[in-house]
């Protein structure tokens, strides 16, 4: 067999002949599953546009992705116990089990003119100028050795590659493939099923960029030679046995048979380069090798086919049985094809094969995987040609045309674009702790970086929504634990008392526990004039004291409170709410009445925490990295109750929640460069009204500038939240939506994610989510269904809030 590749130059590969040059581009795969129909159609149209704009033979490679090197072990900070080291080892093991996070997609574009018939060739010749014609003749009759390419010719190839890039990049996010990526792409074809080749510098950025303008000349002065010393391919009847870098690779090459006559897009039957591979628990590689048939040529072919179909129809009609249904339908289809090609967009056709490569470490596993592939493709047959395995194997190398006869099909650009080769289940962070895996057959690992919002200048707040027992608290505790391992300061507010993070063996020595309860020794812990940020102090104090007043209070009472707070702030170096009460008591008249009303709250219940007493020194907190604050007897309304219907106790509860948030902000404000996490359940209390959202906005600003990450959990997706969704867009970074228990809640949850609440299938999916499964919207707006995965069973038991069975 002739060498399929003669050499490569940058992102250009040269086939068996040096004149057969291809440019290879890497295309970023993107999240697709949870896009609406409009979004999916837009993606298809972009691919379609790219295929039509290329105007050359094309090869689309979708291969199992590279393993990313970002081991979470590098995220640990400081001294850690054996428990945390065990956690990191469990992480690494699970990531190794799951494999790559997403596929890699490469598009190779031929830099030669596509196939033409004689008529088109002559027409194009007639359009050329004399100098171009002379150049063509000189090249055709040149006597030099065509295996030798001068540097200027290499430069012309690079310029042509640039033009191809420009055409492609107008429609899809494509960049030039790097030399190391081409090396990886070629070497990994021999290692399928047994691992990945070790390529130096694969994950490092490039060192040099040379401008290409058609005038400058780049002359490489050295080259690398890839040698396959130990790599021999045994071509067996229906498989290949390859002695590869990582072991013995057994590979089977399959090729797609006839496609269905009609399919619907979006739909798994049309998305042949996305849905079936993603449903499999092992990786497969796909190569679509297509010859470009320009519209003029396609039209001539179509007209000939119309004549052929008509001829067959007439011949059948002359017989005694008359024309067959197939004969009649074929005439109609041929005319439909002609009409399609005569559309204003003048679309081309593609004569293509879709080849699938399956690899395994042993023959038995290979057969099992081949059968799984066949099931994944359903009604579409996958052929495994006897004696054609080597040709198909070579077809998967970059810059190759179809090598095997008998399987090419003439496809429209819609058919190829609808295969969605660039679709993926891409969600989460490039680096970070292992969060879980996608709920697909491929089980793609998903990472999550707590610093992603700050690092990428996006919203840092993490919102977690779901019914009771759906996994919100478990997730929050997992994030807090991982933040702790990364050296973060953690402030954990626990209104329900079901958190266990602070009890973990390696966390407990670093915990300050402060139970917020009606205790005189805690008086003043939450005094708004002490805990609120300076610019919010006055409003926070007025709001707190006003909500303590009876609901039927005279408006003059509010005025008195405002004036007293003003006076105290102006006069005192260390103002407190108790001083405000004293100031009111000294005022006489209305002021004295107000003071009497407030004194009751200043001395009793949880509200006394808002009145700092000079005789009481509250405990100091914040010296240790973790501050755990359970809250007892916090009054609160039923979720969904309008604020206008709150009782006084419920209004007080709301005030306390805000004061707790301010207290947490003060704790977090001391270390600007350290990651800080603030966890709060019952987040609807903060999200549901403007004052709470104002606090979150302040936390959000801290998030971007001071690495503060609020983690807000809420059971309820209220109408208020949905109504305020636009304002929440500026607050929320990542969102986790766990299982819902009612159709109405599911509808609202989808609206919160920006999805279509009327989508019955999506609502049903939300209702069926088990504990730990969620829809995850990451900082970049990508959405996937994910299983949150605590890799250490002991942690799962520790964090679970579901009562244990006895």
């Amino acid at each position: 067999m002739r060498a399929p590749l003669s050499f490569t130059y940058g992102n250009c590969v040269f086939g068996a002949r040096a004149s057969d040059a291809w440019a290879v581009f890497a295309v970023e795969p993107s999240s697709y599953q949870w896009l609406g129909d409009d979004g999916k159609r837009a993606r298809m149209l972009a691919l379609l546009g790219a295929l039509e704009a290329i105007e050359a033979d094309v090869q689309i490679l979708r291969v199992a992705g590279r393993s990313r090197p970002a081991s979470p072990g590098g995220l640990l900070a400081g001294e850690h116990t054996s428990a945390s080291r065990a956690y990191m080892h469990a992480h690494d093991r699970r990531l190794a089990e799951l494999g790559p996070a997403r596929p890699e997609v490469f598009v190779a574009v031929s830099l030669n003119e596509p196939e033409r018939d004689v008529a088109t060739y002559l027409s194009q010749l007639a359009e050329r100028g004399p100098s171009e014609l002379w150049q063509t003749l000189r090249e055709a009759f040149a006597t030099r050795d065509h295996r030798i390419l001068p540097a200027s010719e290499l430069e012309r190839v690079r310029v042509r590659a640039d033009r191809a890039h420009a055409r492609l990049a107008e429609f899809v996010p494509a960049r030039e493939a790097r030399s190391v990526e081409l090396q990886w792409l070629v070497r990994r074809t021999f290692c399928r099923g047994v691992g990945e080749p070790d390529v130096d510098g694969l994950h490092e950025p490039r060192a040099l960029v040379f401008e290409r303008n058609g005038e400058a000349v780049l002359s490489p002065l050295e080259t690398d030679v890839m040698r396959w010393c130990d790599c021999v391919v045994e071509h067996r009847a229906r498989c290949l046995r390859i002695e590869a870098e990582g072991g013995t690779s057994w590979q089977a090459q399959l090729v797609l048979g006839a496609l269905p006559a009609r399919t619907r897009f979006p739909g798994a039957r049309a998305e042949l380069m996305f849905a079936p591979p993603e449903s499999l628990p092992f990786a497969i590689d796909l190569s679509l090798n297509a010859r470009f048939l320009p519209n003029e040529l396609a039209l001539r072919i179509a007209r000939k086919r119309v004549q052929d179909a008509d001829q067959i129809f007439r011949a059948e009609a002359d017989g005694e049985q008359g024309a067959s249904d197939l004969g009649y339908e074929r005439t109609q289809e041929a005319r439909d094809l002609l009409a399609h090609l005569q559309a204003s967009s003048r679309p081309p056709l593609l004569r293509a094969t879709l080849a699938i490569a399956v690899g395994a470490a042993d023959e038995r596993e290979l057969e099992r995987r081949v059968e799984a592939c066949r099931r994944a493709y359903g009604e579409i047959r996958l052929h495994r040609p006897l004696g054609g395995q080597l040709e198909l194997f070579v077809q998967h190398l970059p810059g190759q045309r179809t090598r095997i006869a008998g399987y090419d099909d003439t496809l429209t650009t819609e058919q190829v674009a609808a295969m969605m080769p660039t679709a993926a289940h891409a969600v989460g962070s490039e680096r970070g702790f292992y969060l879980g895996h996608t709920l697909t057959g491929s089980r793609r690992p998903v990472r999550f970086n707590l610093r992603e919002g700050s690092d990428s200048d996006r919203n840092a707040t993490i919102l977690s929504v779901g019914a009771l027992g759906s996994g919100k608290t478990t997730l929050a505790q997992k994030l807090k634990y991982e933040g702790f391992l990364a050296g973060a300061r953690v402030v954990d507010c626990d209104p329900k008392g079901d958190h266990r993070f602070h009890l973990l063996a390696d966390v407990a020595p670093h915990v300050d526990s402060l139970t917020l309860r009606p205790d005189p020794s805690l008086r003043g812990m939450l005094d708004p004039l002490r805990v609120a940020p300076a610019h919010l102090r006055q409003d926070a104090a007025v709001s707190f004291l006003r909500d303590l007043l009876p609901g039927r209070a005279d408006p003059a009472w509010e005025t008195a409170v405002v004036a007293a707070v003003d006076r105290v702030i102006a006069r005192s170096a260390d103002p407190t709410c108790l001083q405000v009460v004293s100031a009111l008591r000294d005022g006489g008249g209305v002021d004295e009445q107000v003071a009497r009303a407030l004194e009751v709250y200043a001395r009793s219940g949880l509200t006394q925490l808002g009145f700092a007493d000079p005789d009481v020194t509250p405990p100091r907190v914040g010296a240790r990295r973790v501050t755990y604050m359970p809250i007892r007897d916090l009054p609160g309304p039923e979720p969904g109750t309008p604020r206008s219907e709150y009782s006084q106790a419920e209004r007080i509860g709301d005030q306390l929640v805000r004061l707790i948030a301010m207290f947490a902000m003060r704790l977090m404000g001391s270390e600007r460069d350290r990651l800080k996490l603030f966890s709060f359940d019952e987040g609807w209390r903060l999200l549901g009204d403007p004052a709470g959202r104002g606090l979150l906005t302040a936390l959000q600003r801290m998030g971007r500038s001071e690495l503060a990450v609020p983690i807000i959990s809420t059971q309820l997706v209220s109408d208020t939240l949905i109504g305020e969704r636009e304002s929440l867009e500026n607050l929320i970074g990542a969102t986790f939506v766990f299982g819902m228990r009612s159709d109405a809640e599911a509808r609202r949850a989808l609206a919160l994610l920006g999805l279509d609440g009327d989508d019955r299938q999506a609502r049903q999916a939300l209702l069926e989510l088990d504990a730990g499964r969620c829809l995850f919207r990451d900082h970049h707006g990508r959405i996937e269904a994910v299983q949150v995965d605590l890799v250490v069973p002991e942690l799962l038991r520790a964090f679970s809030t579901t009562p244990a069975r006895t």
Binding site: T8, L208, P220, A309, E316, G388
Partner: protein
């Protein structure tokens, strides 16, 4: 709302058939041209085989209408219908014959009998760098143009007659080890100015 994606395979997958010879109408669905070719090939093989010693003796007693009409006709009809691995018979047969013939390659003067194998040692592949590697490689670049260097390096500009006469590169760039992340620098070159990277 979903859109319909059509396949026009049936338009392209039509087979040439002969429906009538002059005024003689053949079978309603016609005779595939491929079948006629198969018939001719089988007939030729039978004819040649009948003249070979051994095979000729076996074929001798068979009546001519069986040997030269019925047998080729039946075989041709079967081969026209059968699809091996989804391909027409002649396409699949060509691939199988090529594969079987190639299995005769000797490996260390021994023929691998247990499995039919062909060995293919992949050829060497030269990979010429273009600067996209993570480390500095050796290049010569002649302007007009620009070069961006993203790694730690040392730069020197050549002067004098040799540089003026373009015998020596005008700018030389060398890798410099030991630094951490380097700031990207751009060298803009006029026409004819050369930079040598090593």
């Amino acid at each position: 709302m979903s859109v319909e994606i059509r396949s026009y395979r049936r338009v392209f997958d039509l087979e040439r058939r002969i429906y009538r010879i002059d005024r003689l109408r053949l079978n309603p669905s016609g005779v595939p041209v491929r079948g006629v070719v198969y018939f001719a090939a089988v007939l030729a093989a039978v004819t040649v085989g009948a003249r070979l010693p051994g095979v000729g003796a076996l074929a001798g007693p068979v009546p001519w209408y069986v040997r030269n009409v019925a047998l080729p006709g039946l075989l041709a009809a079967a081969l026209a219908v059968v699809r091996i691995d989804g391909r027409p018979f002649h396409v699949a047969a060509r691939a199988i014959v090529r594969f079987r013939c190639s299995s005769r390659r000797l490996v260390g003067l021994r023929v691998e009998r247990r499995h039919a194998v062909e060995l293919w040692p992949p050829p060497q592949l030269p990979m010429i760098p273009d600067g996209s590697d993570p480390r500095i490689r050796r290049f010569r670049y002649v302007g007009p143009g620009a070069v961006r260097i993203d790694v730690a390096h040392a730069r020197s500009a050549a002067r004098g007659t040799l540089a003026t006469l373009r015998v020596r590169a005008h700018v030389a760039v060398r890798h410099r080890a030991g630094d951490g992340a380097a700031r990207a620098e751009v060298i803009v070159l006029d026409r004819g100015v050369r930079v040598r990277v090593r």
